[in-house]
């Protein structure tokens, strides 16, 4: 027994635990401030100022919003299934946080002679893990919608489920093309490949476009926010939710946005790579400095992608349901297949 305990690398456990705690708090803070960013950007696009009363430039607004949600009355409808009703938002929140585990947030750093990788788990099938967890995310919505025992909620849940299933296909096929060029399933390895060479975006622009559109659909963001659709379904799957349980749903949406931006930045924009087509190790900076710079570069990319999410949201109106399905099945899937074939042909041609 003692030998088992001794053989565990306690420093590793500690380092991972700290890192996980750090990443979770970062995701939460970022999600909080994306709500602020969302409101600000929405306002600017509509020629308004946005929140500017709570604190300087309204920076305390997310805190005020959170506090408000906490103090609101918790209502659990009588006819709902109580266990599932609570499970729904929890699941949405948990799955939103889980994906962060395989994203390489930066290169290694060295502390006390230990080399610490800035990735919680470099799973060699990282991208499959991301897909698995993202598809679990729809359960949060479906369970919540079903447990509410409300027709509008159920409609929202149905829409969310069919939409995510349809768009996951195109997303997966777009990704297969990327896997063929990189030859690995590990996110860490993919990012390392992009360090010295160009970013995958330049090899797979069409793939990125498909992935981006599908990411919008997966995150239930406008133009694909049919699951919420305030004006048709009065809030859709979270119509019956109040207080912090509603907050969790809204929060999960923003964390999802953050994580999917991180995944896109890692897959297509070189992750923590600073300049494309350039080997930064030529600068001769220390490992730690490089890691910090790299992590910063990653965050800049993530924030830019989040901005694109918001920009699109405040530009395009919602798709109609038939348009959504047409676009997914008749547009994106053939396009993704085409992209895959072209990539395969190129690889075959160039390798010969």
């Amino acid at each position: 027994m003692n030998s088992i305990l001794l053989s565990v690398d306690w420093a590793l456990v500690l380092e991972k635990t700290l890192f996980i705690a750090f990443i979770i708090s970062i995701s939460l803070v970022i999600a909080m401030y994306t709500t602020y960013g969302e409101r600000k950007i929405a306002a600017w696009i509509q020629d308004r100022h946005g929140p500017n009363r709570a604190g300087p430039f309204g920076l305390l607004q997310p805190l005020a919003d959170g506090l408000k949600l906490f103090f609101k009355e918790e209502i659990i409808p009588n006819s709902s299934n109580k266990f599932l009703f609570i499970l729904g938002p929890s699941l949405a929140m948990i799955t939103a946080m889980l994906t962060g585990a395989v994203i390489p947030w930066g290169d290694k750093i060295e502390i006390f002679g230990r080399s610490i990788s800035l990735q919680i788990a470099d799973v060699n099938i990282g991208i499959l893990y991301v897909f698995g967890v993202v598809s679990l995310g729809v359960y949060g919505i479906m369970i919540g919608a079903w447990a509410s025992n409300n027709k509008f909620s159920l409609m929202g849940g149905l829409r969310a489920a069919s939409q995510i299933i349809s768009y996951e296909l195109a997303m997966g096929i777009a990704l297969i093309a990327l896997l063929m060029t990189s030859g690995t399933l590990s996110l860490g390895e993919m990012v390392r490949q992009q360090q010295t060479g160009g970013w995958n975006f330049f090899i797979q622009p069409l793939g990125f476009l498909i992935f981006l559109i599908c990411a919008f659909a997966e995150c239930n963001r406008t133009p694909f926010d049919l699951a919420e659709a305030e004006n048709e379904l009065i809030g859709g799957y979270h119509a019956e939710y109040s207080s912090m349980k509603l907050g969790f749903y809204l929060f999960a949406e923003y964390i999802n946005m953050f994580i999917s931006s991180a995944v896109m930045a890692s897959l297509y924009f070189g992750g923590y790579d600073i300049i494309p087509f350039y080997d930064e190790s030529a600068w001769g900076l220390s490992v730690n400095t490089m890691a910090v710079l790299g992590a910063l570069a990653l965050f800049v990319k993530i924030l830019l992608l989040i901005f694109v999410f918001m920009w699109v949201r405040w530009t395009i109106p919602r798709f109609r349901y038939d348009q959504l399905m047409n676009l997914g099945w008749k547009g994106l899937i053939p396009l993704a297949l085409f992209n895959m074939l072209i990539t395969a042909a190129f690889i075959l041609f160039l390798r010969k």
Partner: protein, 189 residues
């Protein structure tokens, strides 16, 4: 049957290929929204900034005093008669010997109330007054919780006393003069 010739026929042709891809239109739209980020904002930060009032704006009333601080109003009731909303009520009282420094005329309004919820701010009271006593200002009634608080008595209406608070009195007088000036311009125009 055609009622007007403003009707436009709706284009129901199926989408062309360019339109079916959606992307060109989406990018165009995104360009438009992006340019709006840098446009001038139309919002006015209300308590700090206020919109300028139009020259004919009519807001809350004030009751005038003369230079010695005596109230002008003689409780003739013409304003109440003129008021289309019946917002003004008053009780008249006779000026007693020794009160000459308080009221300019022999009869004065012991109670003078305007119900700001009834008032339509038409300004007819101002025009009816023969004694230069009532004027509308450029402020509006602040929000409140009770109906009662919208019935403004003399304590809310009469302008400050010139001896006790000469600055505030001068300011109020200035506003009244400005108002008279505007009214004159309006008449000549």
């Amino acid at each position: 049957m055609q009622l007007t010739n403003r009707a436009k026929s709706v284009d129901r042709r199926p989408l062309s290929l360019m339109e079916k891809i959606y992307l060109p239109a989406i990018f165009k739209g995104m360009g438009i929204t992006f340019s709006h980020i840098f446009k001038k904002k139309v919002t006015i930060n209300y308590p700090e900034e206020t919109r300028p009032f139009s020259p004919v704006f009519r807001g809350l009333h004030i009751l005038n005093r003369d230079e010695e601080g005596r109230e002008n109003c003689t409780a003739c009731g013409l304003c109440a008669v003129a008021c289309p909303a019946e917002a003004i009520t008053m009780d008249a009282a006779e000026r007693l010997p020794g009160e000459e420094h308080l009221y300019r005329e022999e009869k004065y309004a012991a109670k003078y109330e305007i119900n700001m919820l009834r008032c339509i701010f038409c300004g007819l009271c101002e025009e009816a007054c023969p004694k230069d006593a009532i004027y509308l200002t450029e402020t509006f009634a602040p929000a409140n919780y009770s109906r009662k608080s919208f019935i403004y008595g003399k304590d809310n209406l009469v302008i400050p006393h010139p001896k006790e608070n000469s600055d505030a009195f001068q300011k109020a007088k200035g506003l009244i003069d400005e108002r008279k000036e505007k009214a004159k311009q309006e008449k000549t125009a």
